[in-house]
């Protein structure tokens, strides 16, 4: 129904896979899945997807916001949806250093994500 191209960045395999299935069910194409920051930057810059589903913590020094800030230099219009487990003010403030398309808190509601992708 919508042929949107999506890159998923999450260091947790289970969650990344879950997100992938939601996207596929919604009719989108998942053109890449990255589990760490440097892979993520490379993949996003190569694929130039319409949406990125971005985890904040990636289990290393650089987080999802760093990735987002870096790819914004080459692709400023990319829609980056942050998906995070922590809703504490610091994390939200950190995410807002970038210009997120949307922030979602885990565990996410699949239909809400589908709605975002369809918009």
């Amino acid at each position: 129904m919508m042929n949107k191209r999506i890159v998923i960045v999450d260091d947790d395999f289970l969650i990344a896979e879950h997100l992938r299935r939601i996207c596929v069910d919604a009719g989108a194409t998942v053109c890449g899945m990255a589990h760490n920051a440097s892979n993520a930057v490379e993949m996003i810059e190569n694929e130039k997807p319409e949406f990125v589903l971005m985890d904040v913590r990636l289990g290393e020094a650089r987080d999802g916001v760093d990735v987002s800030l870096e790819v914004n230099k080459t692709c400023p219009d990319m829609k980056i949806i942050f998906i995070t487990g922590s809703s504490d003010p610091k994390t939200v403030q950190r995410i807002n250093e970038d210009h997120p398309y949307k922030i979602m808190f885990k565990p996410i509601d699949p239909s809400a994500l589908e709605g975002l992708l369809a918009a």
Binding site: I15, I22, G85, K90, P107, S111
Partner: protein, 521 residues
Amino acid sequence: MTAPASITAQTSSIFARFPDHLHRLIFAVVTATAFVVLLFGWIFGYAPLTRIYPGGSVMVPSTASCFLLLAASLTAALPHPGHAAVPAFRALLRAVALCIAAIALIDLVVSFGGIATGVDALLFPHFAAPGAGSMSPATATCFLCAAICAFGLSLPDGIGDRAFTVSATFGLVICTIPLACYLVQPAALANVFFMAAMAFHTALLFALLFIGLMLANPNRGWIGLFFGDGIGSIGARRLVPLAILLPVLLTVAALAATRAGLIGMGFRSIFLSVAYIFMGVAGLLYNANAQNRSERRLKELFAELELANEEKSVLLAEVYHRVKNNLQQVDALLSTEARKHDAPEVRASFDAMSGRIRAVSTVHQLLIQRQNIATIELADFLRTLCDNIADAGGLASRNIALDLETDQDASTLSTATTLGLLVNEIVVNAIKHAFDGRESGRISVTYRIDAENGEDRILTVQDDGKGLDPSAWTGPHLMGGAGSMLINGLVNQLRGNIEVSSGNGARFVIRLPSSTLMENR
């Protein structure tokens, strides 16, 4: 660090017990001395007892009687530690205090009014003669102060504290002046009308009496400051002996120097004033230093606490983060499992489980955003929960409204979780079944504090759908599915009860006691 702390604790416990025995001893000494002066000095006529300081003034019978009465009734009226006061003795103490105040006032009136030399002259003609002795105005003033203090002690703590403190301090100052004169230079008293007639042992007994009065209840007055274990009290205990001894020694030395003709009286006054100024300032600075040190230490401690608190907060946020991540993992696992099944009812079951997991996680989502993490605002919580349910159920596209009205209230996390699951279950059930074949619908959730008793909380979920069979939802024979079982179980967990009715749609009314809100499971 440990050793000084234990020494301080020991010292403070000694000082805490000490006053209990001391004021009794003081009152006993005053009673006995007054009794001896009255009996042997006046009744048996042994003069050295009435004029204990050669060349000084006499303790007249009225003064000795007042001491005897007051100290004896104080001993009787003040309870032993751990014992209740006897009301009759308290009444006696009040009567004695009033009586002594009256005697003191009469003495002041007659001596200042020039009617007689004092109250004794009114009773015994012997005392009308010049030089026979009288109750000096200073003695009468001290008795007035002591009577106020004694009366204050018969009242409950907190009543008349200021009058007690002022009277005890004023009395102590007045009697200390003649006492110091007797010790240092008795001739100095000679021409002072106000206190010349105060005997040496009268001044001494007054000093003891006022200290005893303050020790009788260290919570009143300032004497308790000497027995505290704070840095201020430690400083006071160290400095007070010096504050008494140094001026006395200095004054004695200055007087000796005058007598020897080394310095004149004018120079002596100026010299002593300057010396006292410097002593006072030195004391103040000593205290200021101690206070600054203690404040510095307090600031350090505060900073340490703040750091520790910060670390704890970070740790807690980390735990909540993990919880939410784990819930997402569980949801992902369920979703993986759900894909194995094609049957719509099985998929619906898995969807319901996902919804419940998200209801539980709503508590954590709100929790991390808050400063106070012990409780959660139910209005915010239910609002977020209902918004999430509305999004997940696609209510906007189905033309179903989900209204929420809540009173301001807070609960623990575990109770909020249970409440959230309950609301999720009932609302999701309504979304699924209530509006079959309808164009639109309305579900309203209200959370109210019971206006009648202010104690109970009433949660109502109502829809305007097709209604249901109430008997399937409550009672011992649960005819409904897992949903109704869950609802009844959750209501029991909240220690509440549920009423289900069906008229224009279904109506669930859950009543729970407010005590549940603060429970931690």
